[in-house]
């Protein structure tokens, strides 16, 4: 061994495996009796341990920053998982759930397609992940998981076809109207509500004509999502105070047409409707798009 080698260098070479066999034996013999060498050895050993630990922590923190889906469906079966994840997702209507369970048809895209696009972004990729717990403790079953994850490209294909369509959120909690045959006036406790000033703007569509209709929202136990026109006044029956709504008034060749925009959907309002009638969502895509254009022009 080189006699000029300092303890520091000697230890360094030993730890880096750079000593010859003879030098190594010499080192191991020396360290038993030389306390300074032992001290140096311990010091450098700590340094290396520190380097390793720092790296370990760095890798762990890298992993910690990888988002993992919350364990919502740990013990539920596959079907339940699929259903849970679909219903849990924001902006996916019950309609989608229905169409999803009945195989997605490429030809049947129009309205659903919007939801599919959203679904692809929000939810579908998670499903294969969520499935893994079912095969817990059985690494061998990986094959099964792979098969399931192959569903993903399929949905992607669907989503791809629908990219051109503007995404629209349809909220799952649309209140289903009860159809009421008779309207009892005494049930209604009309209450004048201050109308959102926006509505005045919206009323001017083509000719800047002031709105001719007055609007009132009425909380009504029996008519949860209804409307009626009475003495040139529009009554919205139901709980319309929680979310903003807009009334769109159009002057057409056949007279005035009214539409309600509420909770991201449009509803046709028939001005001849004197008795409370359920609000029916407009499903016609081209009409919806036209209304959207009108609506955005007003803003």
């Amino acid at each position: 061994m080189n006699k000029n080698l300092t303890n520091e260098e000697f230890v360094n070479r030993y730890l880096d495996n750079e000593l010859s066999e003879i030098e190594r034996l010499d080192f191991e013999n020396k360290i038993l009796h030389d306390s300074e060498l032992r001290e140096e050895y311990n010091f450098q050993k700590d340094l290396i341990e520190g380097i390793k630990e720092t790296r370990r922590l760095e890798l762990k923190s890298r992993l910690s920053n990888i988002p993992i889906n919350t364990p919502l469906y740990q013990t539920i079966g596959f079907k339940a998982v699929a259903i849970a994840s679909i219903t849990a997702s924001v902006g996916i209507g019950a309609y989608y759930l229905f169409s999803n369970t009945n195989d997605i048809q490429l030809s049947d895209i129009d309205l659903n397609s919007n939801q599919l696009t959203l679904t692809e972004e929000v939810d579908i990729p998670k499903i294969p992940e969520a499935i893994t717990p079912i095969f817990k403790e059985e690494p061998k079953k990986e094959v099964v998981m792979d098969v399931i994850s192959q569903e993903k490209p399929k949905t992607e294909a669907v989503a791809k076809n629908t990219e051109a369509v503007e995404p629209k959120i349809i909220h799952p909690n649309v209140i289903q109207p009860d159809i009421v045959e008779t309207f009892e006036e005494e049930d209604v406790t009309p209450k004048e509500i201050n109308i959102d000033p926006q509505i005045n703007n919206l009323d001017e569509i083509k000719e800047n004509v002031e709105s001719t209709v007055e609007i009132s929202t009425v909380k009504d136990k029996r008519n949860k999502f209804h409307y009626k026109f009475f003495e040139n006044k529009l009554y919205l029956l139901g709980n319309f105070n929680d979310m903003p709504y807009e009334i769109i008034e159009l002057n057409t060749s056949k007279g005035k047409s009214y539409f309600l925009f509420y909770n991201n959907s449009f509803y046709k309002l028939n001005s001849e409707q004197v008795k409370p009638a359920p609000l029916v969502k407009i499903e016609n895509d081209s009409l919806v798009n036209e209304l959207k254009i009108i609506q955005s022009n007003q803003k």
Binding site: L47, G50, T54, R55, K60, E129, K136
Partner: protein
């Protein structure tokens, strides 16, 4: 990604392969701990530790895998969790541990070293990590860090180690570190 591709990437020090594995087996591995009296947090911790162990073995290129990665990872998790359970039960049984003081001192030392490492430049941190933890060869390190050749990497590593050595030495006073 096939197992062989994952291993290939790891042996080149490609950390994205680690991310991939992490996500792929997260549920499976954490469930193993959760089903055996572990909390979600413990499960996550064990799984991360297991992956880091796997990384260290695979990155050095010395790992010859006779089973699937998932099976291997599973057994690491199992071992780590068993050890952790033993540690926990020991902790309960002999609360009054005489080694507590020296443990504390060791912790202090480790903390200083850790701070010094983080105080060094990124290149030094990387080169030392790759060498001492990942076990990458100097050729791999040179390639990964874009050095002209292996000798440059060797010199750089030597200098970085020197630097850390001086840094830590200066932080220790004889009284609180050396016997």
């Amino acid at each position: 990604m096939k197992d062989s591709e994952v291993l290939d990437k790891i042996s080149k020090g490609d950390e994205s392969a680690l991310d991939y594995l992490y996500k792929k087996y997260y549920r499976m591995m954490t469930n193993l701990v959760i089903k055996n009296n572990g909390t979600e947090q413990e499960a996550k911790d064990i799984y991360q530790d297991a992956l880091v162990v796997f990384w260290q073995k695979a990155a050095s290129g010395n790992l010859v895998l006779t089973s699937k990665i998932s099976t291997f990872l599973y057994s690491i998790c199992l071992n780590l969790w068993r050890k952790e359970l033993e540690r926990k039960s020991r902790l309960v049984h002999d609360q009054k541990d005489g080694a507590e003081y020296s443990g504390h001192e060791q912790e202090e030392k480790a903390k200083i070293i850790h701070e010094c490492i983080n105080g060094m430049g990124e290149t030094c941190r990387k080169i030392l990590s790759y060498h001492y933890f990942d076990g990458l060869s100097m050729t791999d390190i040179a390639e990964k860090l874009g050095y002209a050749n292996t000798d440059t990497a060797k010199t750089k590593k030597y200098k970085c180690k020197q630097k850390l050595y001086q840094l830590v030495k200066s932080k220790y006073s004889k009284s609180d570190f050396l016997d």
